[in-house]
Every structure is written in C-alpha cells, then in structure tokens.
Amino acid sequence: MKIEWKKSFKIAAILCAIAGVSAVLVSLANVVTEPIIATNKATKEKNGLQKVFGSDATYGEKKELSDTKYLLAYYPVTSSLGESRVYSTSGNNAYGTVSLLVGITSGYSLYNLVVMENTESYATTLNENYIVTLINSDKKDEALNEVKCGATYGAKLIRDMVNAAKDHYKEAKA
C-alpha cells in the first residue's frame, strides 16, 4: 500500500495547528481566571470555617499537610471548647468527590463538619440521609459509623475522612 506522505503530513499539521491554537487560548484563559478562582475558593473556605466552630472562635493560620490520603491542611482553633482543629479534607470514590471542613475537639471527637463540595452521583441522598443526620446528632461519633443510608459508599468516604482527621490530631498530640 502506497503511503501518501504529503497528504498525511498536511492532515497532521492541520490537526496540530488546531490543537495548538486551542491550547494557547485555554492557557490565556487560565492566566486570567486562575487568580479569581483561587480568591473565590479562599473566600468560600473562610466562610465555611466560620460555620465549623462559630464566628466567636479564633482561627489560626492554615498549615498545609502532605503525605496523607484525605487531609489537605488544618487550622488551629481556639474557642470556648479549648484548643481544637479544623481539617480541610478531600476524597473521592467511583461516584464523585467530597470535600469537607471537619472540626475536631481536643478530646478527638467530631464537633461539626461543613460540606465544601459534593459531586457524588447520590449527593442528595448522601446529604439528606447521612450528613444532615450526622450534623444534628448529639452523639456524632456514633452517628458517624451509621453508614447504611442509601449512599453508603459516599458515607463510608466521609467516615474515613473524619477518622483520618481524628487520627492525625491524636498523633500530633502524642
């Protein structure tokens, strides 16, 4: 079979040119939008933080974490409950991503959590059957393990993220 080099080269060159111009456009858009998106995220996280331990608490500087599966960073908190921490966590499974701000007290108990992102396929079920129940429960540490809710994989992900935050706080104190 005879290969038409000239034609093949022309086709490849046109495809490359279209892809190249698209890449340049996307890069330019990224330069414009990236700082705005970062500011939006920071504002959202700041507003979320206030909801974890309340606006009366004092939130310290963000401390980035690495080498952990779910934990991104934590904020030291001083409130009427004493020294506590808010962990910024994110995890995903086959159904989507969940990002949370998790408030852990000095007794290593879950105090509160705020959902920053929930792209799970069963996001509404997860929220209504698990997260709302968990937040409103008086015994949050027990409610955390009641993962059978119609969106069990999502609930297990949240449980694991909260437990990772508790364990990290325990290890840090030890």
Partner: protein
C-alpha cells in the same frame, strides 16, 4: 433578513428543535432540569459553546481535511467548553458547582457536534451563527419549560437566587421564593418530579403536547386544503350551472 438566513435561525426554534423534535441532548435536559435557574444557566452556556463552535467550524470548513473532520470538531468544541468552564468557575461559581460534570459533558453533546457536522461544515459563517443562535434558544427554551414544570410540581415553588447569587444579593442575600403548590398550611407538591423519574415523565408529557400541537397544525392544513378544494368544486359547478341556464 433574507429567506435563507431566516430559515437558518427559525429552524432550531420549533421545526427542528434539537431537544423536542430531534430528541438530541437528552442527558443535560434530564440532569439539570430540577431547577429553572440551573436549566437557564445550562441553556446559556450551551448556546455560547454552540454559537462559537459553529462559527469556527464554518470558518475552517475549507481548511479541515475530510478524513479528520470529527477529531477537529471535537478539539474545537472541547476548547470552547474548557474556556466556558473556566470563566463560569471564576465568575459564576454557584452555577459551576450546580452544573458539575454536565458542563464538561458538553464536549460530547450530540447537538453541538451534530450542528457542526450537519450545518456549519456546509454553510457560510453568518448562516452558521444564526443556526447556532436558533438552536441555542430552542434548546434553552425546551429545557426551561421542562425545568419550570419539574420545579413547580416537585418542590411546589419557584426559587431564584441560589444559582445566580446576584439575584439573592438584591434580596439581602436571601433567595426569592414564589410559592405555587406549597406554602403556609398547604402542600400539593409531588417530590417524584424532582427525581430522574420525574424528569422522564415531564419530558414525555412535553413531547406529547408538542406532537399534539404539530398534529393539530397538520390536520388543520389538510382540512383547509379539502375545504378549499370543495369550495373550488362548488364554484365550478355553480358556474357550469349558470352557463347551462344561459344556454
């Protein structure tokens, strides 16, 4: 507006409505029609991508080789979807998080790819632009009708200001809520319409109404034609009778 331009614009609105007639783009139509605001947002973003990709494909129609036209169209559409995503995330973050993965899925939306392939690659830039505008408005209207019915029946009220937060800001940060089937002391909403099942049900009902209107128009045309024929026959017979009497 010239006849061909007018045709390019109007076809997508009703006669060739991408969702209600061609039954294309069902995925976002069912997924984001739980709320009118989200559906309107999706419609606008869909229209922007469709218009831009139609114009660019039409501009490049003589440059893009026949053998690789589909990959080229997909690269062009993907670029516009990515740009739209970035700007939406920056300037309308609530809309971005509401639409979620369905915004990215516009890359493989069969309406956008279909219009590039079937229209923009064969027609001029202005006609392709008008086709994009017509189809965009047609799709937006179709999903807004479905979303309106689903939100009213499913939640019993219409809410404005949760996705487009600037509307809520005008009300002191609280969304505007218009109670229709649900209010103080009464609740006639059916939550099933907020579920995917409800999406299919409403789409089916809207399609049935569309077909009924189209059929009624076609029947009226037929009846009018028959009446006109009968009238012409009667007039011809009357003339013939007059001629006979005169003889």
């Amino acid at each position: 507006m010239k006849g061909q331009h007018k045709q390019s614009f109007l076809a997508g609105l009703w006669k060739e409505n991408p969702l209600l007639i061609s039954l294309l783009g069902m995925c976002p139509a069912l997924a984001v029609t739980k709320s009118l605001e989200a559906a309107f947002g999706m419609g606008i973003l869909f229209s922007i991508v469709l218009i831009c990709s139609n114009v660019l494909v039409s501009l490049l129609r003589k440059v893009i080789p026949e053998e690789v036209r589909t990959p080229c169209y997909i690269v062009i559409i993907a670029a516009f979807v990515t740009l739209t995503k970035m700007f939406t995330e920056a300037f309308l973050p609530e809309l971005y998080s509401t639409l979620g993965v369905f915004l990215s899925l516009l890359v493989v939306n069969c309406v956008i790819l279909g219009r590039s392939e079937a229209f923009a690659s064969k027609n001029g830039v202005f006609d392709s632009f008008l086709d994009g505008v017509g189809n965009g408005i047609g799709f937006t209207l179709a999903i807004c009708i479905i979303a309106f019915v689903r939100e009213v029946l499913g939640t019993g009220r219409l809410t404005f200001g949760t996705t487009f937060t600037f509307i809520g800001d005008a009300n002191g940060g609280n969304p505007f809520i218009i109670p229709i089937l649900k209010g103080e002391g009464y609740d006639a909403s059916f939550s099933v319409f907020s579920t995917p099942v409800g999406g299919f049900l409403v789409l089916g009902i809207v399609l049935a109404i569309m077909m009924a209107i189209t059929n009624a128009k076609a029947n009226k045309k037929k009846v009018d034609e028959r009446l006109a024929k009968a009238k012409a026959k009667a007039e011809a017979a009357a003339k013939a009778a007059e001629k006979g009497e005169a003889k």
